[in-house]
């Protein structure tokens, strides 16, 4: 499967990773190589096979829907690149 530069640009956009225009052809080529490798899967007959959901058959445990933790605003903000007045700060989102 060959990936063109427009597709590479679209994927970069979806992944929220800035890729400079001049790097797109090389990136598209790398994607194509990896996807070619993945194409081998087309040889496999998967008719009637269920996609794996969980590698070890287990039922997820249930618990009461109650608050078990919290009240640690300072700790949560302690690693933020920009935190002000008890909040994460980001560039203006709404005009």
């Amino acid at each position: 499967m060959s990936i063109d530069t427009d597709t590479a640009a679209r994927v970069a956009k979806l992944a929220r990773i800035r890729v400079e225009e001049e790097q797109l052809p090389a990136l598209a080529q790398e994607f194509s190589n990896i996807l070619d490798f993945i194409e081998q899967l087309n040889e496999v007959d998967v008719e009637g096979v269920e996609p794996m959901v969980s590698v070890t058959p287990m039922r997820l445990k249930r618990r009461e829907d109650g608050v078990t933790d919290g009240g640690m605003q300072e700790k949560i903000l302690s690693n933020a690149p920009d935190a002000r007045e008890g909040f994460f700060a980001v560039p203006k989102v709404v005009e």
């Binding site: 996807l35 993945i38 096979v49 070890t56 302690s78 690693n79 933020a80």
Partner: protein, 495 residues
């Protein structure tokens, strides 16, 4: 002093309990070995002060007669584990400056048992790599060399720093994590032992996530007995990880009898690759003969979907990574790019992720984004999940037919030179995991044991794969193999 760093966990535990050595002495010996070993670039955040504090506390516990097996044992911790108050960066620029306010369950259990942390260990960025060359800290270097050739070799990856540190006696044991082979391949490249337990054995809570359905933590140690002891301390049920298994953990060390008479060992024909080096072929044959001599029954088995494991992995793992790594947005922790006048939140995300993630991580996040995107989800992601079902079924059928463990090579080659496998051809690097990745896809336990050397004197490893939750039995088979192989070589110190 340097003799102390060569101790194994079992020997150190016994010596500590007998009062023949103190944890402070062991810790100081390791810390000075680390200071001398800058050339290996194994430790990327050193914590000598807190290590000595932990060592003093461990000595007090031992004196008081309260000494679990790991009490006072100096360890290195892979940078992927969140450790409270200590930089935990997953070897990525995007987590620069991140100091977790919490402790991962695995490291918390080790510290509760009295283990001492010497520092954080180098690795591939977000555990994505097989050579430790994608690290933001630079390459870790293998303490082994090809004879007198001073070319620098990779210690493997992603747990390259862990492997180098254990092999060079810069700790008594280390933690690793394994998503496609990241414990077993570096263990094989450095002549040490590494086990990836059954998916769900070790809690993933507090370990930076790469591919959640594949990631498992495990120990990297100087021998099989140590692997049993350290694994024991690392695993167990954790309510904070919903995939953690609520099963009792047996006494792994007590199961090491070395008696494997009557055990059925499978040899999968699909693992015989075209172009595999003769030495790997020979090692595998030798290992098979050793298990047979020890009384095991050897049977040929078929795992027909094994050849599709790598392409399956390179859909599933990037897909999960693209989702897990979406959290690195420059808002809550770590790195945020400098913004230009007028840049909005989208520019902040895009610049932060472009500058914060290295090339391989970006590539995998984007591949994952692609295979999950509208129109391709069924063709790639669902297809891969179906093939994964078949890969697991192959193993189930072998086990149902009476096979108790499977013997394979651990890697398709010995350690290669740093820079030898180029970045332009990622698939070439991915082939390193050809023997290990099936085990992650099937959620099984797998262990790499050093079993010989190649013609240049580099270590080679064999892999044993066990049935789910049968780590004890697997460790015992590995123990028998270890005894028969008698691998005792150590790298000559040049650093």
């Amino acid at each position: 002093m340097s003799e102390l760093t060569k101790m194994k966990v079992a020997g150190a535990r016994d010596a500590l309990r007998a009062g023949e050595v103190t944890s402070v002495e062991l810790t100081e010996a390791c810390l000075s070995a680390i200071e001398e070993a800058g050339a290996l670039n194994a430790y990327v955040h050193k914590t000598p002060e807190s290590a000595l504090e932990q060592a003093r506390a461990a000595d007090a516990r031992i004196k008081a007669g309260d000494a679990p097996a790991m009490c006072g044992i100096p360890m290195g911790i892979k940078d992927l584990f969140c450790t409270r108050g200590v930089a935990s960066q997953a070897a990525s620029r995007i987590l620069e400056g991140f100091r977790p306010e919490y402790e991962s369950t695995v490291t918390g259990q080790l510290f509760d048992a009295g283990a001492v942390m010497l520092g954080k260990l180098n690795m591939d960025e977000f555990a994505m790599g097989s050579s430790n060359e994608t690290s933001t800290y630079g390459n870790a270097v293998n303490p082994w060399r090809r004879g007198n050739d001073d070319a620098q070799l990779t210690p493997g990856g992603s747990s390259g720093g862990s492997a180098a540190a254990v092999a060079a006696d810069l700790c008594l044991a280390a933690t690793g994590t394994d998503t496609g082979g990241s414990i077993r391949q570096p263990a094989a490249f450095t002549g040490i032992t590494g086990i990836k337990p059954t998916y769900g054995r070790c809690s993933r809570w507090g370990i930076v996530a790469f591919a959640s359905s594949l990631d498992q933590a495990g120990p990297m140690t100087k021998d099989v007995r140590d692997a049993a002891i350290v694994l024991q301390a690392m695993c167990g049920h954790d309510p904070k990880d919903s995939t953690s298994a609520d099963l009792p953990v047996p006494d792994f060390e007590a199961m090491l009898t070395g008696d494997i008479r009557g055990k059925t060992i499978g040899i999968p024909k699909e693992y015989r690759l075209d172009g595999m080096p003769d030495e790997i072929e020979q090692l595998w044959a030798d290992g098979t003969a050793m298990l047979k001599d020890a009384g095991a029954k050897i049977v040929d088995i078929s795992l027909p979907h094994a050849k599709y494991a790598l392409p399956t992995y390179y859909v599933v793992a990037p897909a999960e990574a693209s989702s897990n790594l979406a959290r690195y947005d420059g808002v809550r922790y770590g790195y945020r790019a400098k913004l230009e006048q007028g840049d909005g939140i989208t520019e902040m995300y895009e610049k932060t992720r472009a500058e914060g993630f290295g090339h391989e991580v970006q590539r995998r996040v984007m591949i994952g984004t692609y295979v999950l995107s509208a129109g391709f989800y069924d063709a790639y992601y669902n297809k891969a999940r179906k093939v994964r079902t078949l890969i697991k079924r192959d193993f189930e059928e072998a086990f149902a037919a009476g096979v108790e463990a499977i013997l394979t090579p651990a890697t398709p080659s010995a350690a290669f030179g740093l820079g030898e496998v180029t970045d332009e051809d990622p698939v070439q690097m991915y082939l390193n995991d050809v023997f290990t990745v099936t085990v992650n896809l099937a959620g099984l336990p797998g262990i790499a044991v050093p079993a010989g050397v190649d013609r240049t004197g580099l270590p080679l490893g064999l892999q044993l794969i066990g049935r789910p939750w049968e780590e004890g039995d697997l460790l015992n088979t590995a123990y028998a193999l270890e005894q028969a192989a008698g691998f005792v070589a150590k790298p000559e110190k040049w650093w």
